[in-house]
């Protein structure tokens, strides 16, 4: 569709790179005929692999990089030694305006540190955040921060709310996503000081959000709201706890259905239905955490994903690149800045 849509790809990031990366581009290129890809990595290795992937080949340009960031390297080390790696170059293409978004399945800490260094924080944003897509009873919720910062004060939480809401609209297409603040109760006096202050700030600052108020842990999966806002410590623990629980229940189900001849026969009959269930819980469909709050879009694919999962992450990058995400975030942040700068008891008309 949109001509000029270019996605910059770290061809060597992830446990199954470059195979999973190239498979992902093949799928994404077929689905998005307008998109082009800058593929960073060793040309001698990538170019022959493109021969077997015609759609990816037609849409991609290989940019040679012979170094890559190891999965177990520390962020500080990656910053010092990262120049010229496929990840670094993929980000620089966004920095220099050649591409609108970057996708990598590489080392998360390194990607965040390099993104911060190369793309820098967007004006008005104090802390970039990591957004995860979370399957719910009614669709998908965006949860942030899931790990970029261990702490967040009230105005940072409001920034997360603004970025998460714009993200949800860009990627899921809803018109007015409902935003909730994660807390231990729904009453106004519950929880940390910062969360109560953030709720007050959202209500009084005039930011343009459909604010639901506080939500609890079980509200995430219920789909009570579309955007769940929390600090990176709580968000990371909630996300991993949910992943662990889903895996536990799936394990219990497998055990139950292999527990005897009747159960096995039943499972066999119900196999197509159980496959559908598996697809619905497939982490690949929600692959693509987005690092928001920078001057450029950075999508982090799960390191262990395959081509289909990688394509989902590329899809997220494409939708964000096609949206007015940044302009909307900037406009809403400006409302917040005006409110914060206004005197405590603002005269009517000031905000």
């Amino acid at each position: 569709m949109a001509s000029g849509l270019v996605i910059s790809v770290d061809g060597m990031g992830g446990d199954h790179a470059p195979d999973a990366v190239l498979d992902g581009i093949e799928i994404a290129a077929r689905k998005n005929p307008g998109a082009r890809f800058l593929l960073h990595g060793p040309e001698g290795r990538l170019s022959p692999m493109l021969e077997q992937r015609p759609a990816a080949k037609a849409a991609s340009e290989v940019r040679h990089a012979d170094k890559f960031v190891a999965m177990d390297v520390k962020p500080s080390q990656a910053l010092r030694q990262g120049k010229g790696t496929s990840m670094w170059n993929a980000l620089v293409a966004v920095e220099e305006g050649e591409a609108q978004a970057c996708v990598s399945a590489g080392n998360t800490g390194a990607l965040m540190a390099m993104s911060m260094m190369r793309l820098r924080k967007m004006e008005g944003v104090h802390r970039p955040a990591l957004i995860a897509s979370w399957p719910t009873a009614t669709g998908f919720a965006a949860v942030l921060d899931v790990g970029a910062n261990v702490e967040a004060d009230a105005s940072q939480l409001v920034e997360f709310a603004i970025m998460g809401e714009a993200f949800h609209r860009a990627v899921r297409g809803g018109k007015r996503p409902k935003v909730g603040l994660l807390n231990v109760g729904s009453e106004d006096q519950k929880g940390h000081e910062e969360i109560r202050a953030a709720a007050k700030l959202i209500r009084e600052s005039g930011v343009d959000l459909e604010f639901h108020g506080f939500v609890e842990g079980d509200d995430i999966s219920k789909g009570t709201v579309d955007v769940v806002v929390t600090d990176g410590f709580t968000g990371n623990i909630a996300l991993k706890t949910a992943e662990g629980t889903a895996r536990l229940v799936a394990g219990f189900l497998r055990e139950a259905l292999s527990g005897g001849p009747l159960a096995r026969a039943g499972a066999l009959l119900a196999l197509p239905a159980l496959r559908k269930l598996k697809d619905r819980m497939d982490p690949r469909t929600v692959n693509g955490a987005v690092f928001v709050g920078l001057n450029g879009i950075v999508v982090k694919s799960h390191g262990g994903t395959d081509g289909q999962g990688y394509a989902a992450a590329v899809e997220v990058a494409i939708r964000m690149a096609r949206s007015h995400y940044r302009e909307e975030v900037a406009a809403n942040l400006a409302r917040l800045t005006i409110a914060s700068a206004a005197p405590q008891a603002a005269a009517p008309g000031i905000s």
Copy 2:
């Protein structure tokens, strides 16, 4: 077994009181012939109901109380007006040494506030905490705090570790439960300052714990450790997130298995296996959150549970009452106190 084992029961706490309470005592009394129960509530209502529950009748003594704490009352209000209610009297029986433990399915906030007032904090404990039992791939983990405090500093986290470990041994019978601190990564430099300081304190204070180090959200369900230590904000959100996720997956499964004639036939064949799965995920089997750190045992049953769930909460109270829980906690807290009082660079032999 142990003669003199007396459990004090709030006969009017919970959504289905007094029926669920009496059904629960009937089941628990049959299983524990040595246990006796003080049943607090309106005599005119409870005594006739005991006629249909012979084991409960033989093991119980009704203590008349004509008031009870409403499920929606605020803790502060419950403290002011709670005197003489069935909940209050149930706690006073523990305070006065008539019973070793109290069980209530009533208002959680009111129960915690009244417990604090009547039973007071155990020597050496700064913050009592709420422990939840969590089903894992290998058994059950104890997770605390799940909501008594929104924050916890390093030494409070260590107190939680000590209390959680003694709880796990008392209720699950394991010899050396492994203890983990909930964090966003397993590396030493990750997470909040307080958590890193707590890990250091456990390692250096000489408390008697099998300390595993940091665990992440998905480790809870995996059963990586037996006791998961965190602050009440994070613990509450993790617990409710897990409940929400389990419910979501169960809902997806139900939908999948009713999605066509083949799936329905398969589900019918596998029905006994699916029932076993349901039992395994049954919240009633893990009913009974324990409020620890007081001069007396207080078990909070889920408000909406039935007789079987109530019996599980009573069972937790009985096991704790029969254990050496308090002495062990006291001994370990003493080690912590000595370590904290010792000079920074302690001379060899001091601790």
